[in-house]
Amino acid sequence: MVPNSGINLDVPAPRHRPGEAPEFDNLDIPNAGTVPKPDIMADPREMFGYANTLIRVLNMKHQAVGEWDPQLSADDLRTGLRDMLTTRLYDDRMQTMQRVGKMSFYMKSRGEEAVAVAQAMALDKKDMLFPSYRQQGLLISRGRDLLDMMNHCLSNSRDNCKGRQLPIMYTWRQGNFFSISGNLGTQFCQAVGWALASAYKGEDAIAATWIGEGTTAESDFHHGMTFAAVYNAPVLLNVVNNQWAISSFQGIAGGEKATFAARGFGYGMPGLRVDGNDFLAVYAVTKWAADRARAGGGPTLIEHFTYRADAHSTSDDPSKYRPEHEPEAWPLGDPVDRLKNHLIDLGEWSDERHDQAIAEITAMVTAKYKEAESYGTLNSGARPEVSSMFEDVFATQPDNLRRQRQQLGV
């Protein structure tokens, strides 16, 4: 029996809990354009400062400023905006459909669309993606048909995962998009292996992987960092710091002691911290890291400083653990609004075009969803063949599975 003092046990807590007024006054946010851009082959030991600042391109007047401005064409910017919008509207639709019982589960990426979309644009199509479950924008930017994504989420007869995976755990081989695991973090060091195989073969393709800030505590993060550093793997290691991991804030993952980008330093790789809601900054940082990797400069750790603007998933209610209006208090704004305003500022977009785009995409999503439902939902309509559940456990079905299939009578 021990005395119950608990006195020196230091358990971090977020600044505000439900019922309190949210604010982020503690954040030290440098102005856009103030962080210099290093040479792609810069020595990581000299790059220490990049982990403790925030690379930003879009300023408060919606202008692109500073060395990191990637100078994208207006067309590219509009593509990025459209893909982010599509991601968001797709998410909204799917979440609604989950609410009415068409799917078992759903996870939105609201507020984080720039991370996935800008990164997909900055990478080559041949580059291999090892995402977590909150980068659906990668698929959308790479042109996956929403219909296929929906078919998967509905576990219907056209689901390429054959009804075996939860919604949002996509797989898309053709698009060089790896199978998402339900187990957090496991893809992080796998991406390093893929990248090394590419280097081994003398190919030019690199790998990119994503992990939530909460998940950095898993061993996979450490293994990915270690193996990437040791073998100088051509890989982008992305930490999406969206401030929350289900109900626990980033301090429970160590975020109050150091930035996640700072981890890079101890492994001898650059750690870049970027405003994850700034499409241009995310693009530029990704391009820098990809160029570096392709040039033989090895891995880069990128911390995307962003905010999870909605619930963790359809299974939780964030008002139970954070102030109701915390999302609106996020000082770095919304990635869609910021890119939209930038385009408007450039004279390349307008509120009318924006509304029209929303209307078009919404109609497209609706039509796709309608079609997807015609191939079945989890609860009704067509499903994959039941007998298929005994396939793909092994490359060829062993006897015991054949017998079990027969026992089930399928």
Binding site: V2, Q165, L166, G182, E218, I246, I252, L378, L401
Partner: protein, 337 residues
Amino acid sequence: MVKMTMVQAINSAQDVMLEKDNSVVVFGEDAGYFGGVFNCTEGLQKKYGKQRVFDTPIAEGGIIALAIGMGVNDMRPITEIQFSDYIYPAFDQIVSEASRLRYRSGGEYWAPITIRTPCGGGIRGGQTHSQSPEGIFTHVSGIKTIMPSNPYDAKGLLISAVEDDDPVVFFEPKRLYNGPFAGDPTQPPQSWDSHKKGEVPAGYYTIPIGKAETVRAGSDLTIITYGTMVHVSLAAAELSGYNVEVIDLRTLIPLDIDHIAASVCRTGRCVVVHEATKTGGFGAEILSQIQEECFWKLEAPITRVAGWDIPYPHAFEWEYFPGQGRVLAAIKLVMEG
């Protein structure tokens, strides 16, 4: 006695132990402020403070290592692994460390830790929120393994686990959290309110680790099972028309083989039922021990009903789940050949 769901009973066991013993602390992913994704620790941080009930980084291996270290320093940590599908990152700490610490140190150190973790399917969780991995722990010397099937047992066994000086892996069939479940998802959900074992003392009590319970007496055939499958087996027993005895193991290791063997030697027929995949599952061990103990009394082969040897497929949950039909077929097979 008050009515409790299994969630409430598990919450209550932790509450009782936090109250009773300052060396008890509770931690896990989302287990602190939020009260756990299944609410099993709800309200406890508020009541006992964040030094005693707290959130952890997402690192199951670290959680168990932390618990072992605390256990060595006179504490009795209760840890929550959010889903038993996510216990594998902690496997080394459980198997190489907690389970062998007392042995390897000649008894100088030990790890009095409890690892709570929800298991089993039936909640549309797909392959990564539905697993029943008890069979990989029951093979490891030095770990006790428990899986209750109702609120009353859950609370009493959980208190025993916390007070036990050995590491205990405490599997909670999540499909039973809010009501008994006899395996038919088309039936309206049942409530623990109307179940005898939904009556739970508000305060402290224990159920001994290592004791099975006969939950239905019978003379034709014995079903050995645990967890959710207790309810499925009872329903199948009812439907079968035979006089079927059903034994709820409650504790897997140490196994109450005397209790089991006494029944099977009497009935001469046996079906072993679990939700985990069949090959190499704990059912094989149960079958083996019964065969060893009761061979000369057996009138038919012991038969196993279990999950298929595949991952738990999201869209085929009910084709995977070993429901009443499969148990019934096994009863018939064993009775009728």
